[in-house]
């Protein structure tokens, strides 16, 4: 089976030309999912029966007339998007029995466009993590090297796309959780501007930072999915009413004259040699295509990690207070009293990383510390946003390594959570400022994929599409696939 068939464009083309039926494509997908599962553990729930009937319905509709823009295309959701009637666990024991009667806006959009949901992807519990090792359902393995992490928290989504099980999967990005796993897995991950995509039905981690994202093999594919799920939703008060992304002109615009900023803080001491080289090569390619590189200073970057690790856990500590064993989710056995009900249900239901972040966040908001930590972090946030705004008066996009390293070994960073937090240094500032960002594959280091991060000003996804797609027109990194395996 040709690996080409696992891009969105190829699938759409084959489906519309009648070269393959939705049902047949779905069967292939389900087979590949079944083969991938023991190796990668990328799915928490597989939806064979419903996927088949959705596919059949697509085929029937196509026979009648015009169909949705994604009709018959199989995909997976990160398991934090509520899907009515389908288990939605958020990677946690707390929700291991949770079947919501409502769907996320993102799911509704994809359903309406005719996508075929084949499963719910594994993830770091409650989206907290950068390695997908913190899932109640076991870690996800990187298809490029099964002894390594796929990145997180959208590790399952990235692995599924890397292994060419699905052409695209949804993810969420709060501090890099779409971009970083895309980088680790050699695929493309796109986080839109905050407010571009509705958060209704997306289980919240940090409300002012969370944004739904897309993982696929190309920028063009990501852009197409993004336009399906973007748009104002009155059910989300942080959802914005802005013009749709003008995708077509962005795809055709040339790289010539594109001004690319190179923030020196993104190329700090922690960047692995192989990663640095691959990224510099990518920048050189941009120059060859007629772009210019401008040195940029983002001095506020120094505080982006502390600010993020105050704000995100603080909001999370509040968002996760609803998980108390009373109305849904995990409840401990034989609670002695109310306090016991809360404390044991939550201690049993939440994994270690989630508990750690809840404690951090609770502390950051607590009496006497609010001004020094939370409020100050929000002030730093404004400083960071201003840094970026200043940069974007001089350049169109910023470029640098998505992550300082390539995918690390499973278990390697578990003993040192702080080291893992520090690795988010290039990605968290983007969420703090609400900007759009994308990671595209730009090479390899020791056989493992390296990701190039591109960031633009708010609402300027079009510039990311131009920069990312232009790069993918003249390079082949995004076509590389991990070796097909049939055993661990």
């Amino acid at each position: 089976m040709s690996a080409e068939l696992f891009t969105l464009s190829a699938q759409l083309s084959a489906l519309s030309r009648g070269e393959i039926s939705s049902r047949a494509l779905t069967e292939i997908t389900l087979e590949r999912a079944a083969a991938s599962q023991p190796l990668h553990n990328a799915l928490i729930t597989t939806l064979g029966e419903s996927a088949r009937s959705e596919a059949d319905a697509c085929d029937a509709r196509r026979a009648q007339g015009p169909v949705g823009t994604l009709s018959g295309v199989p995909y997976a959701h990160k398991d934090l998007f509520c899907t009515a009637g389908v288990l939605t666990t958020c990677g946690s024991k707390m929700l291991s029995n949770f079947v919501p009667p409502y769907s996320a806006a993102v799911h509704e959009s994809l359903q309406e466009a005719g996508g075929v949901l084949i499963g719910k992807a594994n993830m770091d519990e409650f989206a907290m993590g950068s390695s997908n090792e913190h899932s109640h359902f076991g870690p996800v393995k990187n298809p490029w090297d099964l002894t390594r992490v796929p990145g997180g928290s959208s590790g399952g989504s990235a692995a599924l796309v890397a292994a060419r099980v699905v052409a695209f999967a949804t993810g969420s990005d709060t501090g890099g959780s779409v971009r970083q796993p895309a980088a680790f897995c050699g695929v493309t991950g796109f986080k839109p501007t905050y407010g571009r995509v509705s958060r209704h039905g997306m289980i919240a981690y940090a409300s002012s930072l969370d944004q739904a994202g897309v993982i696929a093999t190309t920028v063009e594919d990501c852009a197409r999915i993004l336009s399906v799920v973007s748009g104002f939703d009155p059910r989300d008060s942080t959802s914005s009413n802005v013009a749709a992304i003008a995708i077509e002109p962005a795809l055709t615009r040339s790289l010539k004259g594109l001004r690319i900023g190179r923030p020196r803080q993104w190329f700090g001491a922690g960047i692995e040699d192989g990663v640095g080289t691959a990224v510099e090569d990518a920048l050189a390619e941009y120059v060859r295509q007629g772009a210019t590189i401008v040195d940029i200073d983002l001095p506020a970057s120094a505080w982006s990690i502390p600010a993020y690790y105050v704000i995100a856990p603080a909001e999370a500590s509040s968002n996760l207070a609803r998980f108390d064993g009373v109305r849904y989710g995990h409840r401990c056995e034989n609670p002695r009293d109310l306090n016991d009900l809360y404390r044991r249900s939550r201690a049993e239901g939440f994994g270690h990383e989630v508990q750690r972040r809840i404690l951090i966040g609770t502390y950051a908001l607590s009496a006497g510390y609010y001004d020094a930590y939370y409020r100050r972090a929000q002030q730093v946030r404004r400083l960071i946003a201003e840094d970026f705004a200043r940069a974007f008066t001089k350049v169109d996009v910023l470029a640098g390594p998505t992550s300082p390293t390539v995918a690390f070994k499973l278990g390697e960073k578990l003993a040192d959570p702080l080291a893992l937090y520090l690795a988010d240094v290039n990605t968290v500032g983007v969420n703090l400022a609400g900007l759009p960002g994308v990671s595209v594959p730009c090479g390899f280091s020791n056989g493992l994929p390296v990701g190039l991060q591109l960031v633009a000003a708010t609402w300027r996804e079009d510039l990311l599409i131009t920069a990312g797609h232009g790069y993918q027109q003249v390079t082949e990194w995004h076509r590389a696939t991990p070796p097909e395996r049939d055993h661990v």
Partner: protein, 95 residues
């Protein structure tokens, strides 16, 4: 920043998480390391800046005051760990 077990216990109580005595020590060390990270914020030149709560500084949108009858009550009951006579049940609370 030093974090003792008493502090861990009080934060755990606020967050309604039970931490076993064996884990309190480990939690204290982990928390201390993260709190050291926070100290960096005090050096940031932000005293004159307004906190940024919402990127893009949006405005709150208002919804028309129309009541919509729910139709998912049965689905919610199915999700409930303990329910009787329409009430959610928790261990008796004395006020």
């Amino acid at each position: 920043m030093s974090v003792d077990r008493a502090l861990v216990r009080s934060i755990a109580e606020l967050a309604r998480l039970s931490i076993s005595p064996q884990h309190e020590e480990a939690a204290a060390i982990e928390l201390a390391a993260v709190l050291d990270l926070f100290e960096a914020l005090s050096a940031a030149p932000v005293d004159a800046l307004q906190p940024l709560s919402h990127p893009g500084d949006p405005e709150l949108r208002l919804r028309d005051d129309v009541a919509v009858a729910g139709d998912q009550r049965n689905a919610f009951e199915v999700l409930a760990p303990a329910m009787s006579g329409g009430y959610y049940l928790v261990p008796k609370v004395i006020e």
